[in-house]
Each structure stands twice: as structure tokens, then as C-alpha cells.
Subunit: 218 residues, 2 copies
DNA sequence: ACTAATATTTAGTTTTGTCTAAATATTAGT
DNA sequence: ACTAATATTTAGACAAAACTAAATATTAGT
């Protein structure tokens, strides 16, 4: 697969939400920041190669073979993201662009060894699952902190309210996107929560909790 | 710079032995496993970009700007080689192909952090020096073990005699290409040497020593 | 069901990097 | 210095991946 072909495969995979939905030429064009006519050309080529199913005017979906390739790319991308954050001190939001390049490196041994070096991580810094070598992975969902059962652990991936006071609160309490949060206990009286974040235990109000989103394995 | 342009720059750099010699079109073609006419085309383009000096029929050399690019590529290549060997347990001879791909990844932060993560190594697994961010590096030379001064440390990079009995000896004594060797002391009587290799101290005859090459900083 | 709006494809061009074959320049041998 | 061998460049073509503009198909609104 060429670099460009791999990019198309990934775009089709992501637009298909991992469920292999049929996606439109235009959607792919928008996702890839290119023109629909370019997509038609490439999609024909990928169809000839047995990577996608394509009927003119009827959209495109990945074949089984195409899905394998897509999962392998997602695996590589997410493993590299873990590497960048864990080993090279990149922050949550700096990794994507570099991982986008690294995912195209071709070497099976490289990825096997990287996986091992990182301790076989299950999720990337955004809380998204890392497919196994065979392409298996757990689905994850996004929930606000106050709607998950006690004992749930997940990765902080977003806020509902992004007003300056709220962001200031997060900063003061050293809560950042990408942090792993463990929900310990709920105070019955006011619905406030005790949570563990980066080795320290803190107490947050129900209102704060409802504004924080966690990504957890479904 | 495109991937292909970078490959040409590296080829011209290596053929120029790092001393910026003028190299022939044919030499570049052979090095890159391509045709001389393709080289002519590319070299014209690189000349327009200010990367090389080119006079038709007179060969090509890197400009100052071109040398900077070449050194940055060499730096990236060698840092990745160290990473592959030290962190991912690749062996000495498996790293080149993968590093060849990794060296094209574009991210200054990536390389800065990788350098830091590896502890600012001075040489790669083949004993070749790693240019600093500014492009400075120490020259290295290859010498047989019995012609270096006591206290010299270097990387084992080759053998003169590659007969099966000699290779068997190396294997038995756990001496492998890529190992760091420190020459401790010479026995005056027979010229045999005491050397340190991977935490263990061993004693080798002068004949063995003369068959082993070390890469040391000049 | 018909038309207008939208989506998609086709046809023809461009750019990058390569190739082959032919032309031209350089070098070496006498 | 001349010719033969070799090296290099030029010209023209091709494949990949993109684009623009025009043509065609689909869909939605009435």
C-alpha cells in the first residue's frame, strides 16, 4: 500500500465508525481535504485491489481485507501516540500530527517491539482502544463523571462547560485532558465525588463531575 | 523537502564522504539504484532550490544549506538506530532499513525528545557519530584492537578473518558486532590484551586482537 | 412525476519522479 | 590529435495522485 492509499483506507474506516458503514465519495473528500473526483479515482483503484467495495453513485465500504489494513493502521497510530506521551513527554494534543506520519512506517517487528516496550497498552492517550495484532479491541464510550458506577476508571477526554472559571478550576486542581481518573466514592448527601487522579485523591462537587467527560471501556 | 529529495541529498552526502566532495551523476545513480537520467533531472531541481551546486557534466556537491539538511537526516537516522537497538532490542544489522524510513519523519520536537530519552548518545550502534542539533560531530576511525592505546573504548564493527573457527570463538566469548569494548591492559610478554565487554573482563591473544576492528573517535 | 438542487463521475490536465532511447560531451589510448 | 569508449544530458513517454470543468445521476420538494 502506498502512503496515499493508506490515508484513504483510514478515512473510510473512520467515517464508517469502525462498523464498516458505506460512506459517500463527498464525505471522504471532505475528511481528506481533497476533491470528490480524486476520491472517485482512488476508490476505483482500491476496488481493483480488493480493499473496498465500490458501486458508482452508491458509496464505498471496506472489504474484510481493507478492514484488516485499517485496524493495523489504527493500531500503529495509537501505539505511537502512547509512545510519544509516555516516553517522550508529548502532551495530549501534540501527538496526532506526528503519529499520522509514524503510522506509515513499515516493519512488523517495529510494532511488536514497540507494543512490548510500552507494556502492551490497551488504550491511547485519548482513551481510544488499541487493536491487538489480530485486530481485536474493546469498544469505549464517553460518559460524564457523575453517571459512571463507582470504581470506574477512564481517561478524561473533555468538558461540557468550557468557561474560563471552570478551566481555571481544572488547572488549580491539576486535572488535565488525557489524565486517568478513577471514581472512588459518592457522597450520598450532595452527590459529590471522591476521585483519584495521578496518585492524589480529590473531592469534587456533583456540578463539576457533570461537566467532565471520561472515556471508559464499554 | 520531499522524501525523494531527501534521499538524493543523503546519497550525495555519503558519496562525498562527509567532506562535500563533488560526485558524479553515475555514482549517485548507482548508490540510489536508479538511472543517471533521473539523477540529472533531480539534481537540476535541487540546484534550483539552492541545495546543491551543479554544472552539467561536472558533477554535483552540496551547498551549505544542503549540508545542513544532510546532517539533520544523518542525525535522525542514527538516533533512531540507537532507539531501535537500545529500547526495542533490535540487533545491530536489523536497524538500517527501518531507520531509513524513520529518518523522514518531520517533527523537531520528536527528535529533541528522542535525543533526550536516549541520554544524548554520541554514536550509533555501528560506532558512527551522531551530529548535534547544530550539525557538529566527532570524526571516527576504524582500527584493529591491537593498535589502539590502552584505555581506548570503541564499538566492535568488524573482523578481518571471518573463518568459521574465528566466528565460533567470538560467539563462545559473547563478542558480537555492535558491542562496546574497552581495552584495559596489554600483557607485555605476548601482546595479549585484557578487555572489558558488556560488564565482563576477558583475556584475548594478540592474534585475536589483530582480527577485531574497533570504531573509535579520532 | 417533474424539476431543481445536489452528489458523483468522466474527461482532460498538471506535477512529481521515474524510465528509455537518442544525442552530446568527456576521457583515454594510440 | 583523433577515435573509441564511457559518461552525461536531452527529449519524449509513463504512472501516480491530484485538480478543474463538464457531464450525468440521484434526491428532494412541490
Amino acid at each position: 500500500m502506498t502512503l496515499s492509499e493508506e490515508d484513504y483506507i483510514k478515512a473510510i474506516y473512520h467515517l464508517g465508525k469502525g462498523e464498516n458503514l458505506t460512506v459517500s465519495t463527498n464525505a471522504v473528500a471532505e475528511q481528506m481535504d481533497t476533491k470528490p473526483s480524486s476520491v472517485t479515482d482512488m476508490v476505483k483503484k482500491l476496488s481493483d485491489k480488493g480493499v473496498v467495495n465500490y458501486k458508482p453513485y452508491k458509496g464505498v465500504s471496506l472489504t474484510g481485507y481493507g478492514q484488516k489494513i485499517a485496524l493495523s493502521l489504527v493500531r500503529k497510530h495509537r501505539l505511537w501516540e502512547v509512545f510519544l506521551v509516555e516516553k517522550l513527554d508529548f502532551s495530549w494534543d501534540e501527538v496526532h500530527e506526528v503519529a499520522e506520519q509514524l503510522e506509515h512506517i513499515k516493519s512488523e517487528k517495529l510494532i511488536d517491539q514497540l507494543d512490548k516496550h510500552l507494556g502492551y497498552p490497551q488504550v491511547d492517550p485519548h482513551g481510544d482502544p488499541i487493536p491487538s495484532k489480530k485486530g481485536e479491541f474493546k469498544k469505549t464510550i464517553k460518559k460524564s463523571l457523575n453517571e459512571v458506577p463507582m470504581g470506574t476508571s477512564g481517561i478524561c477526554v473533555g468538558v461540557k462547560d468550557s468557561s474560563p472559571p471552570f478551566l481555571k478550576f481544572l488547572d488549580k486542581n491539576k486535572i488535565a485532558l488525557g489524565d486517568t481518573i478513577l471514581v472512588l466514592e459518592k457522597e450520598e448527601f450532595d452527590g459529590s465525588l471522591y476521585i483519584r487522579i495521578k496518585e492524589s485523591k480529590i473531592h469534587i462537587s456533583n456540578q463539576i463531575a457533570s461537566n467532565l467527560y471520561l472515556k471508559i471501556t464499554a
